[in-house]
């Protein structure tokens, strides 16, 4: 994307005012999408964003500037702007010679998005609309969206790291509205992988559209969700959001270092039921949060965070690991070149258990079964977190019975982790997610087997 000697020149310029560390992050991203709604192909859109972000670190201070002008003049101007914020008394240092860092990509792309004719993308949308509407006259509205992106990055820093990655992602979603006597209900399904158009060789659009429509239809007959504390069984796949919120964010070193996490200072301690082994794995082949190189030039890693209930390690980016005299865990990510990297999750999941999921439900007298989760949110300092249920049922006498309406569940991370008393043997990854932190969104994956929490607060309206 940019000549090596220009990168070196930029790093040298960035260190001139006494910086201890400098980094150049160059990104060239192309994205395209096609939107179908209300019976029409509404719009195709394509875009390109290209630029560089430069940071300079002195002591505890980071100076940052970005530019869409990646000519020599543009890069040097940005380097000086980043350096000016961190002017120190020290003499200027020189960057180490660049050495190429490589890592095998967990994602093998066969059909790059730019090589796919637009009409093929559009055809998928029309197909999804037809299938969803055929599920019943009560389906009154359908929208479908196709999106792809190709993001090339180059990261180089004054420690001598020089790395590149080429990240492709393809995403497809269907949303339905069903209308009945009790008003409108919605159902959504999505699939996404860090690969190209070959995604649609392995994914059945019909199946996806059917499930979205059925989700909306089921809820037409749903009763209000119960209210109060009760056992909750979470189905395999989508349940990963629970861990993403209950402890994932709390294990990010930037929050831990500021004492803004309930998990600060607990390495080596038992923080969860012994059934729980939590892993964050950026190398997980073809999963939504996977990549070869993180946004700081570090190869993706598989990191065991909690093993049999014991806290093993946090997740780290470059800045936080430097301060702690250790190496990054490959979790330094950023939304785009216009922002600083932070500690972020990749694919976060709970390792498989041993129990037959059927037995878990039969063993639950009364409670709620959550088949599909929506998003969530956590306050890492208190550990309190919420997550939404987009498809859920009552459990009565060990059986899944009536559907219930949407709502949030609320719990406290450390408490909930200790209340997991059953773990199924049916591990699966969930839907592609976008994790938001500090206003930045990055693609993440999650997964779990079926599991039971002995008590969680269900936030419905039924007394």
């Amino acid at each position: 994307m940019i000549e090596r000697n220009l990168i070196e020149k930029t790093l040298t310029e960035a260190l001139k005012t006494g910086g201890e560390f400098a980094e150049v992050f160059v990104e060239d991203k192309r994205a395209s999408s096609a939107m179908f709604d209300d019976g029409k192909v509404e719009e195709l859109s394509s875009g390109r964003d290209r630029g560089a972000g430069i940071r300079v670190v002195v002591g505890e201070t980071t100076g940052f500037a970005h530019t869409a002008d990646i000519s020599e003049e543009g890069l040097l101007t940005a380097a000086r702007a980043a350096a000016s914020a961190t002017r120190s008394a020290g003499a200027g240092s020189h960057p180490k010679p660049l050495e190429v860092v490589t890592a095998p990509s967990p994602n093998i792309v066969e059909i790059f998005p730019e090589l796919v004719e637009k009409r093929r993308k559009v055809a998928l949308l029309t197909q999804a609309d037809e299938i969803a509407r055929s599920q019943g006259a009560a389906i009154t509205q359908v929208s479908a969206r196709y999106g792809d992106s190709r993001r090339k990055i180059l990261v180089a820093n004054s420690d001598g790291v020089f790395a590149t990655d080429d990240q492709v992602r393809t995403l497809f979603s269907v949303s339905c509205v069903a209308t009945g006597d009790t008003g409108m209900q919605t159902g959504r399904e999505s699939i996404g992988r860090p690969i190209g158009f070959e995604l649609f060789d392995e994914v059945d659009i019909e199946d996806l559209a059917q499930r979205a429509a059925q989700r909306a239809l089921i809820k037409l007959n749903a009763r209000p969700a119960p209210s109060g504390t009760m056992p909750v069984v979470i189905g395999s796949g989508g349940g990963g959001v629970l861990f993403h919120e209950a402890c994932g964010h709390g294990l990010e070193a930037d929050l831990v270092n500021k004492q803004a996490s309930v998990f600060a200072g607990k390495i080596g301690e038992t923080v969860a039921s012994e059934l729980v082994t939590l892993i964050d794995d950026g190398t997980m082949s073809h999963e939504w949060g996977a990549f070869a190189i993180d946004d700081e030039g570090r190869p993706a890693q598989r990191n065991v965070l909690i093993e049999n209930g014991v806290l093993i390690d946090y997740m780290w980016d470059g800045l936080r690991s430097r301060n702690d005299g250790r190496s990054s865990s490959g979790n330094g990510r950023r939304q785009n070149y216009q922002v600083l990297p932070m500690v972020r999750m990749t694919n976060t999941y709970i390792a498989n258990g041993e129990t037959n999921p059927k037995d878990i439900i039969e063993d639950t007298a009364e409670g709620v079964y959550v088949a599909h989760l929506g998003g969530g949110q956590v306050n890492t300092a208190t550990g309190d977190f919420v997550f939404g249920m987009t498809e859920a049922y009552l459990i009565e006498n060990g059986e899944i019975t009536e559907p219930i309406r949407e709502g949030n569940l609320i719990g406290n991370g450390p408490e909930v982790l200790n209340r997991i008393d059953a773990l199924g043997n049916d591990f699966d990854m969930g839907s592609p997610g976008t994790c938001g932190k500090d206003g930045q969104g990055v693609p993440v994956g999650d997964g779990t087997p079926t599991l039971r929490v002995t008590s969680l607060t269900v936030g419905g309206t039924a007394g």
């Binding site: 019976g39 390109r48 869409a68 919420v386 936030g459 419905g460």
Partner: protein, 447 residues
């Protein structure tokens, strides 16, 4: 900058052939973000960015393309992509670029020269002072997780083949902090902020007091018993609900059968004293703007008047499709085509302070913060359920702190169950203005 953006947009519009309509949006943003931590600058970001969005409509089909640069070569590529994308849409008789509607924008003077001339050293000093002030406010404050000063100046120009040619700019700044407090066993967080058009309007003391009080008053919080209660929503919480209610009143939701208020025009949908307006022409509103996303003059729209639903928001497309006129409510960024939504929502304030409302309510709960609204509100069905924290109200006074509960109802019921509106309008760094409201019969789920 305005002239430069207009020139670029005009040159691209000039490439249109006679069979197509073209709309070009060109934007420029300048932002400073300063974060401080433990008396040091944690990060200093100086950012400047450009963007262009091009929409081509041909035979009732639209295509969109964008780029994060104004380079000549990129403009040509982007235009070609937009034109190509337009050939794949389904022909739609109502699809067209907006046309001038004769409404002149109100001059709001949203860029205060004092913002551009404020020195970086002074911005840094303000952030440091805020952090110091919070730490000194209460001995239970153990730190401030993040303290930031942010300012931005945004300029945009929009030019179309249909005769629209407008530019606008807006500047604003804010201070925000999130404090950490502990009583030895329990830890709580609290945020505080202050917004302004220029840094001289920022109130460090207000931001500090709020951040300290919000964290310390929650220390020792417990779950509440489940039950139906009357709650008071803090201004910040009300503002988040307003944004969602506003989105259900979009012409797009109506047109596509996704509005829970379809066929309710003229009905009583809220308490009789409630008036909700979307008024981007109020310069005190943080998101005030002179023009909307299609280059039409922004305007004051009354959505609910004394409890009666009086209208929906429209852009030029939804207006055309539904046989009405645009309300100047096109929302978009350079990388999207125009949607429809509120630009600056507010309720007309009532007469009581929050303290008076607490006294009048007698028994209930003050909701200080909510979590998970993005996953807990369904704007199509109206069901909502959100994580909540706050303080019990007993005997007309604030009592013990509460955490880890949810509040749930439907948006439809909540609007009708509003018992009172406070006089404490609060400008927030977001699209809606906050004010305390009293809502009865909310299900609180806890122990």
């Amino acid at each position: 900058m305005q002239e430069e953006l207009l020139r670029v947009a005009e040159s691209v519009v000039g490439w249109a052939n006679e069979n197509e309509q073209v709309e070009v949006v060109a934007v420029h943003g300048k932002e400073t973000e300063i974060r401080v931590y433990q008396g040091e600058i944690e990060s200093f970001t100086a950012a400047e960015s450009h963007g262009i969005g091009i929409r081509v409509v041909h035979g009732g089909r639209q295509g969109m393309a964008y780029a994060g640069t104004l380079e000549e070569k990129a403009l040509a590529e982007t235009f070609a992509e937009a034109r190509d994308n337009a050939s794949f849409g389904t022909p739609d008789q109502f699809m067209s670029i907006a046309e001038p509607d004769g409404v002149e924008p109100v001059s709001l003077e949203l860029l205060d020269p004092a913002l551009g001339s404020f020195a970086n050293e002074e911005k840094i000093a303000m952030a440091l002072e805020l952090e110091k002030s919070i730490c000194a406010a209460d001995e239970r404050i153990i730190g401030v997780e993040s303290t930031e000063y942010v300012d931005s100046i945004n300029t945009s120009a929009i030019v179309t083949t249909t005769g629209i040619r407008r530019a606008s700019y807006e500047g604003g700044c804010y201070l925000a902090a999130s404090s950490l407090a502990t009583d030895g066993t329990d830890t709580q967080t609290g945020f505080g902020y202050s917004v302004g058009r220029n840094p001289h309007q920022l109130n460090i003391q207000k931001a500090s007091d709020e951040a300290a009080e919000r964290a310390t008053r929650l220390l020792g919080a417990k779950k509440a018993e489940s039950g139906r209660r009357t709650v008071i929503l803090d201004p910040y919480v009300t503002a988040q609900f307003l944004a969602i209610i506003g989105s259900t009143l979009s012409g797009e939701a109506l047109l596509k059968g996704r509005s829970l208020f379809a066929d309710r025009d003229g009905d009583q949908v809220a308490a009789s004293f409630l008036t909700m307006i979307d008024d981007p022409t109020d310069p005190d509103s943080f998101t005030a703007t002179e023009v909307d996303g299609e280059g039409l003059a922004s305007r004051r729209n009354v959505l609910i008047e004394e409890g009666t639903l009086t209208g929906f928001l429209h852009n030029s497309y939804t207006a055309r499709a539904l046989g009405t006129v645009s309300t100047g409510s096109a929302v978009r960024s350079y990388n999207s085509s125009p949607g429809v939504g509120p630009l600056a929502l507010t309720l007309i304030p009532g007469e009581r302070s929050q303290n008076q409302l607490i006294e009048e309510v007698g028994e209930g709960m003050l909701i200080q913060g909510i979590a998970g609204l993005h996953s807990g509100v369904n704007p199509v069905s109206g069901d909502f359920s959100a994580g909540a924290e706050g303080l019990m109200i007993r005997g007309g006074q604030l009592a013990e702190p509460i955490r880890e509960v949810t509040i749930a109802s439907t948006l439809q019921r909540m609007l009708l169950d509003i018992q009172n509106i406070g006089n404490d309008l609060e400008r927030l760094p977001m699209m809606s203005t906050g004010v305390s409201i009293v809502v009865s019969d909310i299900m609180v789920s806890g122990a």
